[in-house]
Structure formats: C-alpha cells, structure tokens
C-alpha cells in the first residue's frame, strides 16, 4: 500500500489531488528528530514547538478540511537509525517539517530528489543543502550568518583592516560552512581568519584561547555549541583577552547565564540569528511564548522553538497554497512553496522561497545575552544584510 496510486479523492468537500501521506481526513507529516543524541537540545524544543503548531492548526479546523498529524521519529543522531527512520516514514508522510542532522539529510538527498520528492525542511543551515527543490532551509545559512557577524565586528566593534580574528568551529557541516562564510567576509574586509577546529567532545577552550591569544586576534567568531562558547568567553576573560565574541545561532542557550561564564558572556558575547529572539516583545514571539508555556508549563523557552515553529508554519502555509490550487500532492506542495516569495511568520524576517539555490534570507539580527529577557537574549543590532552577504554565492553541495 506504500505505492497508493495518486488520484483525486471524492471524500473531501473539495476534490483535490493527493498522493502519499494524505487521505480524506488527515495530512501526515514526518519529523526526524534527535531527542537522545548530541542535538537533543535542539530536537526537543523544535519538536514541541511543531506539536504546538499542529495542535493550534487542528483546533482552527486543520488545513484543506483535514487534520494535521505529526509522526515523530527519534534517531538519536545515529546515521543508521536516521536513514532507517526516513525509510520508514517516507512512504507514509506528505513531507518533513523537521529533519535534524544535515549529514543524514545529505545521506538521503538522492532519494529525496530522486523517487520520493517530498518536501523536507531540515533544522540545519549548512549551504551544502541548498540547490534542491525538495530540501528547503528556512533562514540564513551558517556562512551568511558569519558574513553578517564579521560585518558587525567591523562596523560596530572597531575591528580594522589588517586585523586578525579567530574562528573556533565544530568539525562537520555546521562549523565548516560557517568558516567558509567568515573567510569570504574576511577576504572582503581585509582581515585574516585564525582557524581553531574542534570536536563536539571538546568542552574546555583553554588551549584554543591560548593559541588565539598568541596569534593576537582582535575578535573571535565561534560556531559550536553553548558549552564551548561559554568556556571560550570565560577563559578569554580570565586570560585578559577582552575581545568581542560573536557566535552562530546554535552557540547560545539561556542556561549559560546560570554558569560561571555569565558575567563574561554579558560583557562581550553576541550571536547572529535570522529570527527575533524568543524574548522579544513583538507579537509573534510573545504569542508563541505564551502558548508554549501554556502547553508545556515549566519548560525552558529558547530559539529552537522559533526554528521549529517557523518550519511547521511554513510547511502549513505551503499546504494551504497547494490546497487552493487543488493539488496537495508532494509535487503540489513543493510547487506551492516555490511560489512563496515573501512569507513572514511573525518572527521578524520575511523569507523568499522562490529560488532553491539561495538561502531564504540573507538578513541577520545580532543578539546579546540578557538575563532580564525571556530566553535570555535581546536584540543588540536590528536585522541587516551586509553587502558582503548580498554578493556572496553559497557553495551548494
């Protein structure tokens, strides 16, 4: 039954074309998440936010006279499980509003673009995933993020031509596409990047700081996890290396403000993001926080929620559009998404999905730790696009 023939079902009030993952009453979506592995942090809040979206949408009557259903599979960041989970869900769902683990997305890319053609929104922003009709990231890719970060350092933090800036990054898609960006920007701005590649297992940044100090850097970029950025900032401060540190989106989590590193973080840590901070007073985030806390009392709120919620919402929008054109087949949804040129989910940034080879935006906010704000961060610099970012062409893998 996994190859149920595409056709038009008479059941629904409106006769719309459907194929996999859609029947008369429900639209099934897949979420390949990581709740037990290295990205459990991200996975949990993304998934809960998406479940929230599904709940709200269904309460509001669903989409296209159908209820949404989210099939969640936890792969614990294990390639074999991830691929198996994909194989299991692929025949049953319309598409994937969540797929954590860009290596795994890459692993099944062939099949997504090949026979499956289901819309996948990965929670991973490496530009290697660009260029596919079916795999669509939401937000600026890591490289664009870092380009804007460098621009911020030059414009607002007094980093000058000829200066050196360090970049500490994870091995893997995330860190390495971030470095691609910072290098590009440094090139433009006449700076040099001092690389420090680390592994997720490295928790103590002392050696890295020592090395950067030796190199005499004027600022530090970091594309790693929260633990690493906290250590980095703390050690730098202790070592009297008082330079601004700017991180990628995944480098910050509100818990850090409860650690030894808090003062240092508040003093000179920033991070780039292509959404408003969850604590912002804008209606979008405010409402999300309210609903989220109502749904999951006592759960911490962080930016992962926004990523998750946005992904689900965008997917929902795409289905709605597809429904209007009476075609909620996989192809229909993908087509619908392509026609969304300025979608704003209320988190500050409008996305243009018309060109699969480009990130949906090149804008970034620069955020700053803030113990008063919800989610522990507030806007340090309003959204902007550096000219370097506009001239940058991501290297699609």
């Amino acid at each position: 039954e996994d190859d149920e023939p595409s056709g038009t079902d008479k059941g629904g009030a409106s006769a719309v074309k459907t194929d996999k993952g859609v029947d008369a009453k429900t639209i099934t979506l897949g979420a390949l998440t990581d709740m037990t592995g290295v990205y459990a942090t991200l996975g949990k809040s993304v998934t809960q936010a998406q479940q929230l979206y599904v709940k709200q949408t269904n309460a509001a009557g669903g989409i296209c006279d159908r209820q949404l259903k989210l099939e969640v599979k936890d792969h614990g960041y294990n390639p074999q499980k991830a691929v198996s989970a994909y194989t299991e869900l692929a025949p049953q769902v319309l598409g994937f509003p969540q797929f954590i683990g860009s290596p795994f997305v890459a692993a099944v890319k062939q099949r997504i673009d090949g026979q499956d053609k289901a819309l996948v929104i990965p929670q991973a922003w490496s530009s290697t995933l660009l260029g596919s009709d079916s795999i669509r990231q939401i937000g600026a890719t890591y490289d664009v993020e870092m380009i804007n970060a460098v621009d911020f350092l030059v414009k607002d933090k007094g980093v000058k031509k000829g200066d050196k800036i360090g970049h500490v990054y994870f091995e893997g898609d995330y860190g390495e596409s971030a470095v691609a960006g910072s290098k590009f920007a440094a090139e433009k701005a006449g700076l040099t990047i001092v690389e420090q590649k680390i592994k997720p297992t490295d928790q103590d940044m002392t050696a890295q700081v020592t090395a950067l100090k030796k190199a005499g850097v004027k600022a530090i970029l970091i594309s790693a996890g929260p633990a690493q950025s906290a250590s980095l900032v703390g050690v730098a401060a202790a070592a009297k290396l008082a330079v601004p540190v700017v991180g990628s989106n995944p480098t910050y989590s509100p818990q850090l403000l409860k650690t030894q590193a808090a003062p240092a973080l508040l003093a000179n840590f920033f991070f780039a993001a292509s959404t408003l901070p969850i604590g912002s007073s804008e209606p979008g985030p405010a409402k999300l926080v309210a609903d989220y806390e109502a749904e999951y009392p006592g759960e911490l709120v962080d930016n992962g929620m926004i990523a998750g919620y946005t992904a689900a919402a965008v997917f929902g929008e795409a289905i709605k559009k597809a429904c209007e054109s009476k075609d909620i087949t996989r192809a229909g949804v993908t087509k619908a998404l392509l026609s969304m040129t300025s979608s704003d989910m209320g988190f500050g940034i409008t996305h243009d999905f018309s060109d699969p080879s480009q990130p949906s935006t090149r804008e970034s906010y620069i955020l700053h730790p803030d113990e008063k704000a919800k989610g522990g961060a507030s806007v340090a610099k309003e959204k902007f696009t550096s000219e370097a970012a506009t001239s940058f062409t991501p290297s699609a893998g």
Binding site: T33, T36, K73, D74, A106, A107, K109, R111, E171, G172
Partner: protein
C-alpha cells in the same frame, strides 16, 4: 543424504532459506533495509569473531575496516563527476578491490597488533577509529568530508541494483529488493568460507594461539603469521560488510564509522557466542534488529509517549530495553545465543 533429510534441522533450514528468498515480495522497504543492515552486520561480525572469538585478539577497530571497505568501494567505483575522486571501475571489480583494500589495511596494522595482547590490543585498535574518522572528515577529495559521498549502485552484469523501479510479479523492485538477494549471496558465501576456515587447519592454529600462544609456536604454528592472517581475513570481512552497508545507505557519512559501531560489533560476537559463525550471525541479527523493533513498537509500552509530548520517548525506551537486553544475554547465556540451540553444548572452535 537421506539421513540428513530426516533431521529436523535440515527442514527448518530449508524453510528458513525459502522465507528469506520470498521476503522481498511481501515486506516493505523499511524491513528489507533493516534486514540488509543485519546481513551486513552479520558479515562483519563473522570477521570479528574469527579475530576476537577464534584467535583471541580483542579488536575495537572493526568500524575502521568497515569504513575502508565502504569508502574504498566509493572511490574505486565512483565516476568522479561529483567532485570527489573516483576511478570509475566496474562496480564488481570495485567490490573486490574494496575488500582487498580492507585486507591490506589489516595487514599493515598487524606488525603493531602482533606485539600486543588483550586489552592493550583492544584499545590500540581503538586508535584506528579516531584516526580513521579524522581522515574521513579531512581527506575531502577522497571521502567528501563531513557530508560523505554518494555510493555508486552495484551493477551486476548489466543489472543495476538502484532505485529504477523494475516490476516483478506486480511487485516494484527497487534497490532494497534487488540488494536483498545480493546480500543473501554475500552472507551465504561468507559464512560458508568462515566455517571451513574455523573447522579446518587454520582454525585449529588460531584457537591454539588464543589458548596458549607459546605452545602454539612450539607445535609448529607460525604465530606471528597466523595472527596477521587472521587480522587480514577479519578486515576483509569487515570490508565486505562495509561495501554492503554503503550500498544500502546509498551514501556514506563519516559519523557512522565511530566508536559506537565498533562496540556494537563486539557486542554482536559476544552476545551471539564467541568463536562460531552461527554465533556471529545470531548476534548480528540481535544487535541490529532489536533496536529497530524496539523503536518501532516501544510506543505501545506503558508510560512511553510520542517524542515531545513529555514522558519517556520511544527512543529512550528502546535504549533502556536494548541496554538491559545486552546485560541480560551476557549474564544468563554466558556462552551467547548459540547456547539456545540444542546440540551445541561444547564451546565451538
């Protein structure tokens, strides 16, 4: 012959084979894929069991040799048009080449391995994992780096085992269905060969080394050479397993070939039963299918709820059960799962 046919084992075996042969006509891709993972694991485990079980050489580096096989195949068979090195050899040749490469890697290691014993050897081989992964991540034009590289589909005498749907008796045959049979053949051949080795002259020499290295030498067994040979053969099995895995994945990624994988293989041979082929196969099936089953059905368990809805997530539940299962098997079946089968009272060798 006839008395063989009178034995129930014969009929059971026959039935089993039949089921395996018709399976692709009935089960969906997910299960076929899981099955193929198990087959690959079985091949790898047989290799490891020859080394650790039969020759007493603890190895935590098995994943490395799997990687050599997997990437070796990609490099040899790859067309090179996706930006990474590819020699574009015929895929069957590439398979053989990859296996040989893995064997070579094992051979190169054996001088070091030859000097080490027990846990020292085990952890020394662990180094291979870290070094190997480092290379996988950094030797971009060979491995494609962190995002790995595509695996050219196997091409058996003009029949491409890829996702081009070929319909057979109204059943769409895609890569998994086709690979299924390739997997079966490889496993069968591998098991047959291993049995021959273990029950034959080399097997006796290997066991002698395991049980009393000095005596083995005095009995005329060239200890260093046999240990090296065991290493090479086991690596070749790993290589073959790696190739099959790659074909199933359709893309190889470095993350996969990590420490955890090596431990899984060790668990397979121990859980199945050290030193025997059947043990390796049983263990492989247990270790690679159990988590799948648990993942799939654990939400049926009490106080397990869908991920993100609070409570114990199925992923977690299956981890618990898997961990418990590993402990239980080792504690209550010290000889491994093979002990469950009657007639294998004495430790096989």
């Amino acid at each position: 012959m006839s008395d063989v046919m009178r034995r129930p084992r014969f009929w059971l075996g026959g039935a089993g084979v039949l089921v395996l042969l018709v399976l692709p006509f009935y089960v969906d891709r997910f299960w076929l894929q899981s099955g193929l993972f198990a087959m690959a694991a079985a091949i790898g485990a047989i290799g490891l069991n020859m080394l650790t079980g039969a020759t007493g050489q603890l190895s935590l580096g098995h994943a490395f040799f799997l990687a050599v096989g997997a990437y070796g195949y990609c490099v040899l068979a790859g067309t090179g048009d996706d930006g990474v090195t590819g020699l574009g050899l015929p895929t069957l040749v590439a398979v053989v080449g990859a296996v040989l490469l893995a064997g070579l890697a094992g051979g190169l290691l054996s001088p070091i391995a030859g000097r080490l014993r027990g846990a020292y050897l085990g952890i020394a081989t662990l180094a291979l994992i870290f070094i190997g992964q480092h290379v996988l991540f950094n030797a971009r034009d060979l491995t494609g780096g962190y995002n790995g590289r595509d695996v050219p589909p196997l091409n058996v005498f003009g029949l491409r085992l890829d996702d081009e749907t070929a319909t057979l008796l109204q059943v769409p045959f895609q890569s998994m269905e086709k690979l299924w049979y390739a997997g079966l053949v490889l496993l069968a051949v591998g098991a047959f060969f291993a049995r021959g080795v273990l029950h034959g002259r080399p097997g006796r020499a290997m066991n002698a080394i395991r049980d009393h290295q000095i005596a083995a030498g005095v009995m005329g067994v060239p200890v260093a050479r046999v240990r090296a040979q065991a290493f090479v053969v086991s690596s070749m099995y790993a290589g073959l397993a790696g190739v099959l895995l790659a074909l199933v994945f359709q893309r190889t990624v470095p993350e996969y070939f990590g420490f955890a994988l090596s431990l899984e293989y060790l668990a397979m041979v121990v859980i199945g039963g050290l030193g025997s082929v059947s043990g390796a196969v049983l263990g492989a099936v247990f270790v690679s299918l159990l988590p799948q089953l648990l993942d799939r059905y654990s939400d049926a368990l009490p106080l397990v709820s869908a991920p993100g809805t609070g409570g114990v997530a199925p992923g977690e539940a299956s981890r618990y059960l898997y961990g418990a299962a590993v402990v239980a098997v080792v504690l209550f079946l010290p000889g491994g799962l093979t002990r469950l089968r009657a007639g294998t009272a004495r430790k096989p060798s």
